[in-house]
């Protein structure tokens, strides 16, 4: 972003990479897949790099409002400083916070989830996908709570997945009735409370019952939880957990 600012150029969109997308080995692959899509579609995008900082989502959900607001106000200063108008992110938690919670603190932007962004690129014909490897494969989409139930976006990821010419199957609990992967509300960063089993196993078991070849995710945390769940049931050989962006990048041979 700083480089754009130095040359006086304005990018079409700021890609908010997020902490998972920056630091988590698995999520970095999602970041790279999405960047390949952006490049293929010739989208002029920027990232904040070292100037990006946690949105504060886990701090707020864990009850630390001070820390959340410190993060939020600092990020808003940076974003407003660059005059950012449009943001895309591959993380539904960043998406929810930037879109819904920053306006009350003086940061109002058009915020898109990457599945919405990719869907628009496909509709505009800026990238083309012809099924590729996934033709006829059984794919099922796990709705992230913060994208689906939280923000009412159920269709964009499904419309994108339809481009794969795969057999798209709905889970028993899907869309507004989808079951959480277990990571939200700062659970990702703590041990689960005592119970009879972990939430991700409950969900993974249900997903595996649909006998998919690929589980499509739209959130780096769901991705981690489901990947762990699939491993727990010793299915990692047959069933892959992939982000929607990875599936499109792979199918478009990017």
């Amino acid at each position: 972003m700083a480089e754009f600012a130095a040359t006086g150029e304005v990018p079409d969109v700021l890609f908010w990479v997020g902490c998972a997308g920056s630091f988590d080995d698995r999520a970095r692959k999602i970041t790279k897949a999405f960047v390949r899509i952006l490049n293929a579609a010739k989208v002029k995008f920027a990232v904040l790099g070292q100037e990006e900082s946690c949105t504060g989502d886990p701090a707020r959900r864990a009850g630390n409002e001070f820390l959340f607001q410190m993060q939020a106000l600092n990020n808003i200063t940076v974003l407003n400083g660059y005059g950012v108008k449009r943001i895309v992110t591959a993380c539904p938690h960043c998406f929810n916070t930037l879109k819904n919670e920053y306006p009350a603190l003086g940061g109002s932007y058009e915020v898109l989830h990457h599945t919405q962004f990719i869907n628009a690129l496909l509709k505009e014909g800026r990238i083309k996908v012809q099924g590729g490897n996934f033709q006829g494969k059984r794919i099922t989409f796990h709705d992230p709570c913060y994208l689906g139930r939280g923000n009412g976006e159920y269709e964009a990821p499904r419309e994108v997945l339809l481009k794969l010419d795969a057999a798209l199957m709905e889970l028993k609990r899907s869309k507004q009735n989808s079951l959480c992967c277990g990571a939200g509300g700062a659970q990702m960063f703590k041990e689960p409370e005592p119970g009879t089993r972990d939430v991700n196993l409950e969900r993974s078991e249900e997903v595996l019952e649909a006998k998919p070849d690929v589980i499509a995710a739209g959130c780096p945390f769901c991705n981690t939880m489901l990947t762990d769940g699939v491993k727990h049931f010793n299915k990692e050989g047959e069933v892959k957990v992939k982000d929607v962006a990875e599936l499109i990048a792979e199918a478009a041979d990017l």
Partner: protein, 444 residues
């Protein structure tokens, strides 16, 4: 005026007075909560109320319970038109004054009877679901004792009221057939005519029939007035509060957490020394006690009045709990229990205020009833708010109580302290510095 009319007036007046007093008590209790202005997007609010409360749109997510419930609900609203006639008859000594409506009266009485049978059947099915099928959501730990009894009392009362209504009509019909004085042949009785002939009621002596008709008439109306006054002590109060509670629904995206403007002031002055810190908060006086400004919720006074209305609106159906990922995986958290605990604590505080004329700290709080283990099990997935047929928001209470734990008591789960430190020092929930944020570009 006959003795009967005077007695009726006395019963009616005391029932209404008692109900008014109970309503005032509930409103007083709800107003113990923090002020919150909710009057935006009025068109959307009326539409939501029409759809969700009046139209029961979220009830049918579970078709069996949903359709049965709509039957009872429609029966309740429509059959209560009959109460209007009963009150006029009771006060003025008339009999079936509604008959002036002519054919419309026949239609009304006929449909009341059919609906009454529908209500009866639905209540029997509901009792069976609880007692015979033992649906798990009706048998969670928080349902032991009073909550389960409350549910049964409601269902049995409705059966008795409908039974009395049909028996009253059957006796009336028989009296009409026999040409008794004061029982002119009016109304149509698709159900009770059959009942009267099955039971051979026309074979009974006139005085006996008149007693049956009078006793069931009194039982029905006194039962309804008693039930009205049972509502404020029962989960059944939802029939009143469902409407305002849905009107005041959260309309923002489900996962949007409310802002704390007071903290914004403090953080702004922390980040920029030229910004003056906000003025110290003025404590609120509630029922004679000063409530200090707190971060998050320690007790009912710290929750928004809307959360307290939520608590009174809950009818303990347990749809929230049966969709909660934490509860489904054996954790202690049950969103329904959060609502019940909030209501029970509010009632406890209300009773203490009534007894002493003011509130004195009793050493207890919401946290006496709701444990940290419950609070920290929530994934904020909002399956509960989606499932609730009257748009109750348990997540908001959980969030406010977490805020109190963390910001006022510095109490949290150890791993979360680590996460806080990382966010504060590295700007990420993990121990990676900002200098590594672009590592992914190296092999991109």
């Amino acid at each position: 005026m006959s003795l009967g009319n005077i007695l009726f007036l006395a019963v009616l007046a005391s029932a209404i007075a008692l109900f008014a007093r109970n309503i005032r008590r509930v409103i007083r209790n709800i107003n113990l909560g923090r002020p919150q202005v909710i009057n935006d997007r009025k068109t959307e609010r009326w539409r939501t109320m029409a759809l969700v409360a009046l139209g029961q749109s979220k009830m049918v997510a579970r078709p069996v319970a949903g359709i049965m419930h709509i039957l009872i609900y429609a029966g309740f609203i429509i059959i209560n038109l009959e109460v209007l006639e009963i009150i006029i008859d009771g006060l003025f000594g008339t009999h079936r004054v509604g008959a002036v409506l002519g054919p419309l009266y026949d239609l009304l009485i006929g449909s009341f009877e059919i609906l009454a049978v529908g209500v009866l059947l639905a209540c029997v099915v509901f009792i069976a679901r609880r007692a015979v099928l033992q649906l798990p959501r009706f048998h969670k730990p928080e349902m032991k004792g009073w909550p389960s009894r409350d549910a049964m009392i409601i269902l049995v009362t409705e059966i008795l009221l409908m039974g009395a209504f049909l028996t009253m009509n059957a006796a009336d019909f028989a009296l009409q057939e026999l040409g008794a004085d004061h029982y002119p042949p009016v109304g149509s009785y698709p159900v009770s005519a059959g009942l009267a002939s099955t039971l051979n009621l026309t074979n009974l002596q006139l005085p006996t029939l008149i007693s049956v008709e009078r006793i069931t008439w009194w039982f029905h109306i006194v039962g309804i007035l008693a039930f009205l006054n049972y509502l404020p002590y029962s989960k059944h109060f939802h029939i009143v509060l469902a409407f305002p509670n849905v009107w005041y629904s959260k309309l923002e995206p489900r996962t949007q957490v409310s802002n704390m403007p007071r903290i914004t002031g403090e953080v702004r002055s922390m980040l920029d020394p030229s910004v003056a810190p906000p003025d110290p908060a003025v404590p609120r006086t509630v029922a004679g006690l000063e409530i200090p400004e707190r971060f998050g919720a320690k007790d009912v006074f710290d929750l928004s009045w809307k959360s307290l209305m939520d608590a009174y609106s809950c009818t303990e159906c347990g749809r929230c709990t049966s969709e909660c990922p934490a509860n489904l995986t054996g954790k202690l958290l049950s969103p329904r229990k959060i609502m019940m605990d909030t209501r029970d604590r509010l009632e406890e505080v209300g009773r203490a205020i009534d007894a002493k004329g003011m509130w004195e700290d009793d050493g207890n709080s919401l946290h006496t009833r709701i444990s940290e283990e419950e609070l920290w099990a929530c994934t904020t997935c909002n399956a509960c708010t989606q499932a609730c047929p009257v748009n109750i928001d348990p997540v908001n209470i959980i969030m406010e109580m977490r805020r109190y734990k963390v910001m006022e008591e510095s109490s949290t789960r150890p791993a979360l302290t680590g996460m806080f430190n990382n966010v504060e020092n590295n700007g990420a929930p993990w121990a990676f510095g900002a200098d590594r944020r672009l590592e992914w570009t190296q092999d991109a």
